[in-house]
Symmetry: C2
Subunit: 248 residues, 2 copies
């Protein structure tokens, strides 16, 4: 592949677009299984953003200062706008957004229930971890999507990274009291473990979505590839935590 | 005054702009008392929006459906963007936003603590009442401000009214069970009573702000005018509640 036929709008995606990734939505969605997978994906992402909004807004209450509260509120508001874009896209393709989101309510509720931060620092680590995992997942999945859906997912991805401020705060807290690092490292592991456990539940329940996640309907199903995707995301998480001073 | 010298951007404000209202920020802020009053006002409005964001996001958890949750999250997000504009304006005029907001934290915390909704309908009525009172107050105060600050306040005002959806839901609930109306009417009275009580606390504490609210520094202080402003806002509230089927 030469640089001239490389897509310009997603430099991070694999260089070649084959199968579904080479088509637009109108063409790709003629396959009912692909269509079902994208509806699932948009529903899951939309509800994930709405749930993230709710939790970040809740965590903002733990903020020690008004400026910190405003930062968390800003992240929450950004998640809400992602939700709006994903919901509007569902409506645009003729799907009822609520119906598309419903299948994923239990998984996100389970995740947030198991990972309610007990203090401000746990909330910050969760915000950072959540933002980063979401970003990794969006990037992974983008390459498996038709060009129109990919454009939306990459646009939402472009607008993540609001949690950067959390890094500085967490580093400062660990510098001030190194024991904090041990506690937060355990917390970060628990977040990732719970995220994986809920994701596996979704993968088991939603056939069309899972099939797409492992390389697109056209390319066949490979469960091992789901495992590899989870491994890549976990590995990136571990590296980020180490950079933050939270060795696992 | 002829129509030709009527300001074009605030048709709802009184027709004549005298005193401070005829000046821009650069001129008006040379008066240290006026400057202090505007810093107080922007600080109070900014923190009010941030607190509203937090409470609406919290109330979104009570929503019976995902669509209702999204509506409340949308309002919360709109309040956050108002907060951003007001905070940015404080920074622009060289004030530390947090310091400007601090004096008003207790009043808003007191209000929200006394008026935590116990169910979804109480949350909706509170959202609607809060949005409407804020809108009335912005409109009242706009006429007393220099042209630059007025423009900001009117721009934020223009973007309120997200609570309209609440009206329909509350009406439907009262139609379905008229006893709900009695309970919500009491609730609306309590909301207004608590809002007035916290406002009076602020008026008593913040001299410069209170002086401005009653007609601008240049026009002299008149405590009775504060009372009349509160009366107008209360009266508008009572009319709205009656229209909603909540006779007091």
């Amino acid at each position: 592949m030469t640089s001239s036929d490389k897509p310009g709008n997603d430099a991070d995606a694999p260089a070649e677009h084959t199968g579904v990734a080479a088509r637009d939505w109108a063409t790709a969605s003629a396959d009912p299984q692909y269509r079902a997978a994208v509806v699932d994906l948009l529903g899951a992402l939309a509800y994930g953003e709405l749930a993230a909004f709710e939790r970040l807004a809740e965590d903002a209450k733990l903020a020690p200062t008004l400026a910190d509260k405003a930062e968390l509120a800003k992240m929450a508001s950004a998640e809400f706008h992602h939700f709006e874009r994903l919901r509007d896209r569902l409506a645009e393709i003729g799907e009822e957004p609520t119906a598309a989101m419903e299948p994923f309510v239990a998984a996100f509720a389970g995740f947030h229930k198991q990972t309610a931060p007990s203090d401000w620092l746990e909330g910050l680590v969760k915000a950072y971890v959540g933002d980063s995992i979401a970003s990794d997942f969006y990037r992974e999945v983008a390459a498996r999507l038709d060009s129109d859906t990919r454009e939306l997912v990459l646009a939402v991805l472009d607008d993540t990274g609001h949690a950067g401020f959390a890094v500085e705060k967490v580093r400062a807290a660990i510098d001030a009291d190194p024991r904090v690092g041990g506690r937060l490292a355990l917390w970060a592991r628990r977040l990732m473990g719970e995220a994986l456990s809920q994701s596996q539940r979704v993968v088991a329940d939603r056939d069309a979505l899972s099939t797409m996640l492992v390389g697109g309907v056209a390319d066949g199903f490979d469960l091992a590839e789901v495992g590899r995707m989870f491994s890549r995301i976990t590995e990136a998480h571990t590296k980020r935590m180490a950079a933050l001073g939270l060795a696992a």
